[in-house]
């Protein structure tokens, strides 16, 4: 498995460090890794609100050492099945996190989630004169304008915003 051999120092050192960590390795589940420190709670909020995730066990690690990021946050979930919708939501609140599926204590699948091309019904438009803020039953759509600067364009009023300027429509709303 090429992913497992990838020279990711964070992975390699995980076994050395695990006695000092507060979250043990998991036999099976999903690890959301390389979350920039401070964003872990946002990722947690994004994950736990989704229907189907309410019985999932979630451990949260904050401020772990990372060679890539200096400090990182990390989430471990008991489920191996995270709906695409949840992954898309995570992609919005934290840039370029890695998702690792764990099977029998081994990384079975690993990928980095990229900035989404289209974001449907997750963001509220900040333009106070945008029709999406006046009509009921409207699905907002934002499209990636520039993934480097994390700018998105409202599919209705066509204004461009930095993603962090926009409020999320909560799944529980």
């Amino acid at each position: 498995m090429s992913d497992a051999r990838h020279p990711d120092s964070d992975d390699r050192r995980e076994s050395d460090r695990r006695t000092t960590e507060l979250i043990p390795k998991i036999e099976q589940g999903i690890v959301i890794d390389h979350i920039p420190a401070g964003r872990g709670v946002h990722v947690l909020a994004a994950v736990r609100g989704y229907p189907g995730m309410e019985n999932t066990l979630i451990s949260v690690g904050l401020n772990y050492a990372s060679t890539k990021l200096g400090k990182k946050d990390i989430l471990k979930l008991s489920t191996t099945n995270m709906p695409d919708e949840v992954i898309e939501h995570v992609a919005l609140v934290a840039p370029r996190v890695s998702i690792k599926r764990i099977c029998d204590y081994q990384v079975d699948k690993k990928y980095v989630i990229e900035f989404p091309q289209t974001i449907s019904n997750k963001l509220r438009c900040r333009n106070s004169n945008c029709i999406t803020n006046y009509e009921d039953r409207v699905t907002t759509v934002f499209r990636c304008f520039d993934s480097m600067t994390r700018q998105v364009k409202c599919g209705h009023c066509e204004r461009i915003f930095f993603l962090d300027e926009l409020d999320l429509i909560r799944a529980t709303d």
Partner: protein, 306 residues
């Protein structure tokens, strides 16, 4: 796929040029040939805010193609005032018609209409966002006067900060090769920085000035806009500025024969009436071109080919 016309940004250069070619074919037809093309079709004109000229242009365009027109242009007289949602209004009116033209003071309404409508939607202005039929008729006017758009030197004067017409036309012109821009405006009403950056990034030359005469000299075309008093917190400042951006016939002496002045109309006092009689006045022909372009658009979304 159903055709709509919502935003100039949705159109490629080839699609823009297709519209210009289509409008030219419409213009070349006789009125008697045209009047059968949309016989039996009904256009619903839904103006949630008044805009008499745009509405008349669409209604004339449709009637001269043999179609009928229903609709409203006074929000007070309609159920919208009673609190009916925009989407319910669309769902109702589409039952009576074959194509919708929509103008609304909020941004994004025309796009939203396409999400529920079963018939084509044409955007006739959504808040400060888009007014694509105006942009297409402006391009058609340039194409007719100059035989090309690539390489033209075009001046914009007046309110370059808030003018949706100017922003939209600039976006479209940036798709053409080598178009140069001269921007003449008071400091308070300069073109937004992001548009200047984008024009430069795409390789266009920009020249900025406060002097209207610089926008006249050396350009092929001067596109003028209204300067509205409500943009100025201080009425004295408005009076000073508006006097500096008034064009008259004397200023056009020495201009090359092909030089044209355009304006989206209605004008306030920024073009003196003595300009009308000069060969440089292009703004009334621009109005006529609007009818041909809107006819081309109606035919296009109703999938009638010529």
């Amino acid at each position: 796929m159903r055709r709509d016309l919502i935003s100039i940004d949705d159109l490629t250069l080839a699609e823009l040029n297709d519209y210009l070619g289509f409008a030219a074919r419409v213009e070349s037809m006789s009125e008697t040939d045209k009047v059968t093309l949309l016989r039996g079709k009904v256009l619903a004109v839904m103006f949630f805010e008044p805009s008499t000229r745009t509405r008349l242009s669409f209604e004339t365009a449709m009637q001269r193609l043999g179609g009928g027109v229903v609709g409203f242009s006074d929000i007070l007289a309609t159920s919208v005032k009673k609190g009916e949602s925009f989407l319910d209004t669309i769902r109702t009116v589409e039952c009576y018609s074959d194509v919708l033209v929509c103008r609304h003071p909020k941004e994004g309404t025309a796009r939203l209409a396409t999400e529920v409508s079963r018939i084509p939607v044409i955007n006739a202005g959504d808040g400060t966002n888009q007014h694509p039929t105006q942009t297409l008729l402006d391009l058609y006017t340039l194409q007719k006067f100059f035989g090309k758009i690539d390489g033209l030197k075009i001046s914009f004067a007046g309110d370059l900060k808030y003018s949706r017409t100017v922003h939209s036309l600039l976006h479209a012109l940036m798709k053409y090769e080598g178009v140069e821009f001269i921007l003449a405006s008071p400091e308070l009403l300069e073109l937004p920085e992001y548009l200047k950056l984008e024009a430069r990034r795409r390789g266009h030359t920009l020249h900025e000035t406060r002097d209207l005469m610089e926008a006249v000299r050396g350009a092929d075309c001067l596109y003028m806009t209204r300067i509205q008093q409500e943009r100025f917190p201080d009425p004295i400042e408005y009076d000073m500025v508006k006097g500096a951006y008034v064009l008259n016939a004397a200023m056009l002496r020495g201009c090359p024969a092909h030089f044209k002045v355009l304006h989206p109309l209605p004008r306030l006092n920024e073009i003196a009436t003595d300009v009308d009689a000069t060969r440089h006045a292009g703004y009334f022909e621009q109005v006529l071109n609007g009818v041909y372009m809107r006819q081309a658009i109606l035919l296009d979304v109703l999938e009638v080919t010529l």
